[in-house]
């Protein structure tokens, strides 16, 4: 059993590794340039090239992959000659990259376009912040002065003093890139394996916190839907299975077949049309004010939950029915009936336990479908969940966000399969004792 779990975990890691490599390769050959996409049609080629460099896209593919996987600050610190740390300088600040001096003071550098010189932002261990002019330039053999430092946007930058063309970098789409004047840029990364999925190319913010919030939102949606689906579906399936071939069975089966056939986007938009537009009962979109948890505005999630329920209930009900029919035709149930046991007792004590075994594992394996349904439902209602995040990122070709989201999804999918196998083993003594 233990070896089995280990093997499956190994398979999961292998899958995640393969998937991450494939996504990297695929995003490489994909048409369209994300830097061009951010800057728009009218940016010059130089501006596009600069942004590509700032995003690290000018480096070879394998360098980018390993930077993404294990980080690069341990490699780039040789250039800066100081330890590089990814931290909140003061408790209320955002998490940023800093160089650390021996006494614990955190420093960043900033290029002043007007004077062509550098200034240093220093945060002492006692949280006091000061900005001073920086004169620590190093001199090359040919007399030009240069300096490797960390800028305010998480790059290791090579600045050269008084050089022609050290203009400001492109500031596009309402985002200040927070860095300028450099000759070479290397975006700092801590690496996925060390818990940092990187910066979203689309929003220019760390992927991790956004992903966590989106995952939480999706999870609460899925959980509520699951709690609604299971009792309804099991009840319908058991009722139908107990009376195989009856009118009740036929109508439940037909209902299940039809509801599972209808695509989520169709039923979702249909529900908006009826409940939101014609009857004016519920809001047709789940737009949350930035950070509120979905549970605080229950009205907004009724329609998404309803759509998911409608799409999934039929599948589980059909599974339960099939399993119930099989069990009710088994010899030991006939024996129980012939023994004269009360019907209720036969169903609850003898049939149900065996009948529920198959559906429970099948349902766990069904999680891929549920994820698919959630992506569509989130797109229909504008619900800020993981699925919508993935859709937006994919449409934008935001590699970091896609990679991180894909890793979460694969871990979820393979993980639930593993859990399903374990549950099945514990439910089924025939496997447990062999």
């Amino acid at each position: 059993m233990f070896r089995f779990i280990l093997r499956r975990l190994g398979f999961m890691l292998l899958t995640m590794f393969l998937v991450s490599v494939v996504i990297f390769l695929v995003s490489e050959v994909a048409p369209g340039d994300v830097a061009r996409h951010i800057l728009g049609q009218f940016a010059t080629d130089d501006q596009v090239k600069l942004l590509r460099q700032q995003m690290g896209l000018e480096q070879p593919l394998y360098v980018r992959y390993f930077d993404w996987l294990v980080g690069n600050e341990w490699r780039l610190r040789n250039k800066v000659d100081m330890p590089l740390v990814y931290t909140k300088a003061r408790p209320k600040d955002e998490i940023q990259w800093w160089a650390e001096e021996s006494d614990g003071t955190l420093v960043q550098w900033k290029y002043k376009t007007s004077s062509g010189s550098l200034e240093q932002i220093r945060i002492a261990p006692d949280d006091s912040r000061e900005v001073v002019d920086f004169e620590g330039w190093k001199t090359r053999d040919d007399g030009s002065q240069y300096f490797w430092g960390v800028d305010t946007a998480g790059h290791v930058v090579l600045w050269v003093k008084n050089v022609e063309g050290a203009g400001s970098g492109p500031a596009a789409a309402g985002r200040s890139l927070g860095t300028s004047g450099g000759q070479e840029y290397y975006p700092l990364k801590k690496g996925l394996l060390r818990g940092d999925p990187g910066i979203s190319l689309r929003t220019n913010r760390p992927v991790g916190p956004t992903l966590a919030r989106r995952l939480r939102n999706s999870f609460s949606l899925a959980l509520i839907a699951f709690l609604l689906i299971m009792p309804i579906a099991l009840a319908l399936g058991i009722l139908a299975g107990l009376r195989e071939g009856s009118a009740l069975d036929r109508s439940i089966s037909l209902f299940s077949l039809i509801t599972t056939s209808v695509p989520e986007f169709a039923s979702g938009v249909f529900l908006i049309l009826v409940l939101s537009f014609w009857l004016d009962l519920l809001p047709g979109a789940s737009v949350f004010v930035d950070d509120t948890a979905p549970l605080q505005q229950p009205k907004l999630i009724i329609l998404p939950v309803l759509t998911l329920t409608l799409a999934e209930v039929g599948y589980v009900a059909r599974m339960t029915r099939a399993s119930m029919v099989e069990v009710m035709n088994a010899p030991y149930i006939r024996t129980a009936i012939l023994k004269g046991l009360p019907y209720r007792r036969i169903v609850f004590r003898h049939a149900l336990r065996n009948a529920l075994m198959a559906p429970i594992t099948v349902i766990m394996l069904h999680v891929n479908w549920l994820v698919g349904g959630i992506v569509v439902v989130e797109a229909v209602f504008g619900y800020p969940g993981l699925g919508l995040y993935m859709l937006d990122s994919a449409l934008f070709k935001d590699v970091n966000a896609i990679e991180a989201g894909a890793m979460v999804m694969v871990a979820l999918a393979v993980g639930t399969q593993l859990i399903a196998d374990i549950i099945y083993t514990f439910l089924n003594p025939r496997i447990r004792f062999t």
Binding site: L273, N368, V376
Partner: protein, 294 residues
């Protein structure tokens, strides 16, 4: 569906096959649910074939005087946000979906069969490598695969087919492999091997015909799912590029104008729902009746 029409052609030469085909056909007619499904499918197939005759106007022509108008004598189901006739777009949308769905299923059946036969017949390392790769694909949430594939290669009709083929292949390969593993041990395969037949001959001439039955039923089920997927991709903006009439895309477009033209969203929803439900009813009837006959 393509598999069925292929069967008809050979049936003309050998009457016994025609009778067998009719036998299979009457199986479906015995199930009421299956018959209803078949009727819905036939209806949409006829609409697709006779689209130019049925559509009252050009699905792409725009009328700037009638934007998001409700139903009128001129436009039976109203017009969309560009003043295009919704009925005509629906009718031509049938063609898009009824060509792409069987095509992508055919492609994944082809690729899946080849992979499944190879893995099942040769076994060993080949089997291990092919199946582990396919497992990795299957471990992936389907929708995510679609997202990544389409985001990478861009939305177009061919790419939708490629994406659906890619997603559908592992399931078919597994089915074919498991059937092949069983058939491989039969005596007639041993005989062929002793005769010194080429592995390709054994795979495609000896094994493939015996895999056909379950494969056709599986493929039929997959057509329904392919239509489901094409609609969803269209809705998410990953389907066919804009001017092409596409039901999923029509829902996405009309949803933006749900407050001014609420009914516009209803027609494509009804169309795709009826088609998918029809296919599933048909497949379910077929499955039920065939299992009963066995």
């Amino acid at each position: 569906m393509s598999a069925l029409s292929g069967g008809t052609k050979t049936a003309e030469k050998r009457p016994s096959r025609l009778r067998r085909l009719w036998g299979g056909f009457s199986i479906i007619l015995e199930s009421r649910v299956g018959t209803i499904g078949l009727c819905i499918i036939v209806f949409w197939v006829l609409v697709a074939i006779f689209a130019p005759l049925l559509a009252p106007r050009d699905p792409l022509s725009q009328d700037s005087d009638a934007i998001n108008k409700g139903s009128s004598e001129q436009y039976l189901l109203g017009t969309d946000q560009l003043g295009r006739d919704i009925l005509s777009r629906l009718i031509f949308g049938t063609r898009t979906i009824l060509v792409l769905a069987p095509l992508s299923v055919l492609a994944s059946v082809t690729v899946g069969t080849i992979l499944g036969l190879t893995a099942g017949y040769f076994g060993g390392l080949v089997d291990e490598v092919v199946m582990r790769l396919l497992d990795a694909i299957m471990a992936f949430p389907t929708i995510l695969l679609y997202l990544i594939i389409i985001a990478a290669i861009g939305p177009s009709a061919v790419n939708v087919v490629i994406a659906i083929t890619f997603v559908g292949t592992p399931g078919i390969a597994r089915l074919v492999r498991s059937l092949t593993l069983d058939i491989r041990t039969r005596d007639y395969i041993r005989a062929a091997q002793t005769r010194g037949e080429h592995p390709l001959y054994i795979m495609f001439v000896e094994i493939l015909p015996n895999v056909r039955g379950p494969l056709i039923i599986d493929a039929l089920l997959r057509v329904g799912y392919a239509i489901f997927a094409i609609g969803t991709l269209g809705f998410l903006g990953l389907g066919l590029p804009p001017p092409t009439p596409d039901w999923g895309g029509m829902v996405a477009e009309a949803r933006k104008f749900i407050w001014t033209a609420p009914l516009n969203v209803l027609w494509p929803i009804l169309a795709i729902t009826s088609l998918v439900v029809g296919l599933n009813l048909f497949a379910d009837g077929l499955r039920e009746e065939t299992t009963r006959y066995q």
